[in-house]
């Protein structure tokens, strides 16, 4: 500490002290380390996956691995395309089923529900997100699967089967353990995520936007359609992407209902399928050769890659959706 100088002496005001101190630098360093650690972790994972999967790409070409559907560990033929199809198809079904319901529920909670109902409903829905996926899986095996097999799928087959093109989606014997059932359970699982984020986004829409539309003589529905949803659409699309990301990586519940068999891709949703994640989970312990094991690690690599590609595509989609009219200019 400096002793206070007498008034006549050199200035008692000191500006050349290190006032920011070490604390600031330590804090900055800590946050920087955290940020880099995440990047580093991702890098390590990717390097590890590439390293561990090197044997399969020595054994057969990348093209054969990615684009053929024969997965035969006995004859050491590994084609992952059917798994990719299973993952993408079941996730997209989940997304398509979940998004309208989730956004609808979020709109109801934010725009219509009386205040005493808001918190209980959102709390319950968000609680659904915390249920372990094995429980969803068990429920799907014992309840959803039979319901799909005996009620939903015969219904779809009867009414949509005869329609050309669309009918192709509903060919085959309804067995309740197929891509459609997996899609439905995924929809149920990602619904809370999409709803919770959409609700948050809708809450952020400024009241001035609603009032502006109201003052033009809009009905409640017109206010929601014309002012609230357009304002929130980037956020809602973001919510859907997070849901999709969860669906792509989801393993346990899907493994229990998707049928885990795939020899060919017929395009029917009643066909048993196999996702990349369930293939890894089911076969990891059975891998009895170097090549087999590295083929399974390679699935993980492809899964990571596809998740990344879908995320990038989704971001591009959001950008074009919002892009033109979302200048950085602030309102007001």
């Amino acid at each position: 500490m400096q002793q206070t100088e007498p008034v006549r002496g050199p200035s008692r005001i000191r500006l050349d002290v290190d006032a920011s101190g070490r604390g600031d630098r330590i804090f900055e360093g800590a946050t920087k380390a955290a940020a880099w650690a995440i990047l580093g972790l991702l890098g390590i994972i990717i390097i590890l996956l590439i390293f561990e999967s090197r044997n399969i790409f020595g054994h057969q070409g990348i093209g054969q691995f990615l684009f053929t559907t024969t997965w035969d560990p006995v004859f050491l033929e590994f084609g992952v395309f059917a798994f990719i199809y299973g993952t993408v198809a079941s996730s997209l079904i989940g997304l398509l089923l979940a998004t309208p319901v989730a956004v609808g529920a979020a709109v109801y909670i934010v725009e219509y529900a009386p205040s005493w109902l808001r918190n209980p409903v959102s709390f319950t829905v968000e609680l659904l997100a915390a249920i372990p996926s094995i429980i969803y899986g068990l429920w799907a095996v014992f309840i959803l699967g039979p319901v799909m097999r005996f009620h939903v799928e015969p219904f779809l087959q009867t009414y949509f089967g005869p329609i050309p093109i669309v009918g192709g989606l509903f060919e085959g014997t309804p067995i309740g353990r197929d891509i459609l059932t997996a899609g439905v359970i995924l929809a149920i699982m990602i619904l809370p995520t999409i709803m919770a984020i959409s609700r948050e986004v809708l809450t952020q829409v400024p009241d001035t936007q609603r009032e502006g539309m109201h003052s033009l003589g809009a009905t409640k529905w017109e206010v929601i359609r014309g002012a609230v949803l357009p304002y929130a659409r980037a956020g809602i699309a973001g919510a859907a992407i997070l849901g999709l990301a969860r669906a792509i990586g989801e393993t346990m519940a899907v493994t229990m209902v998707i049928g885990n068999a795939s020899t060919s891709i017929t395009g029917s949703l009643f066909e048993p399928g196999y996702t990349m994640a369930s293939a890894i989970a089911n076969q990891f312990r059975e891998a009895d050769s170097q090549v087999y094991l590295s083929a399974i690690v390679a699935i993980a690599l492809v899964l990571l890659l596809i998740a990344t590609i879908i995320n990038i595509l989704a971001r591009i989609l959001i950008h074009t959706l919002v892009g033109r009219h979302n200048s950085s200019t602030r309102i007001g």
Partner: protein, 274 residues
Amino acid sequence: MSQQTIEQTTTEAGDSPAAGMEVRNLSAYYGNFLAVKDVSMPIERGKVTALIGPSGCGKSTFIRCLNRLHELNRGARVTGQALLEDQDIYASNVDPVQVRRVIGMVFQKPNPFPMMSIYDNVVAGIKLNNARKSRSELDEIVERSLQGAALWDEVKDKLDHSGASLSGGQQQRLCIARTIAVEPEVVLMDEPCSALDPIATFKIEELIAELKERYTIALVTHNMQQAARVSDYTAFLLSGEERYGRLVEYGPTEQIFTRPQEAETEAYITGKFG
């Protein structure tokens, strides 16, 4: 809710085509909190009526009662009457949606719809209620409304740009264009210049003077000079010890600012409080 609509009033005697309003014993509540108590005053047709008073006096709440916007707040309600010509907008057979078509509003903070182009912002109200209009009719409305809001020359070459890309003052004039595009009878303005710089404010004030040729205008302002400059009538609201806002004095603007009848009005306009 009744489907019955407020009929567009036809031109009667007098030089303005717009309709006037008459507020009778209007009180506004937020839940159990009384925000505005027992206000009775006219909003003269084709004139500018300014509502002045210190912050928290309830002037914004009051003006939001005039197009039934107040009741959109949770728990908010209104008692009393507000007549548009001879029809009470709070009558049980009146649809508030129809009221807001006839009585438009411009807000404190410019609130164009950021996802819409300038063009679509202007016709946003026209496109409501299933109105079917041809492209050329819409083009005409857009040009007329933007002319009316003194914005046409600045934006006519970029109608497809976002409404959010304009400056604050332009955004506010865009909101005015949007409001007059549906040809309301009354235009309510809730501190329309409080977020704007002096030049933009001046343009809006000029515009208000033009708009009163065709519309009845009620204007909330915290700026007494603005009230004196643009309004024909002035109402002074105040919330004292009792917390709720009340109408202290209403009269021709000139009289309120030169010979106020009430001591509280005099104290306020001479800057003794608020």
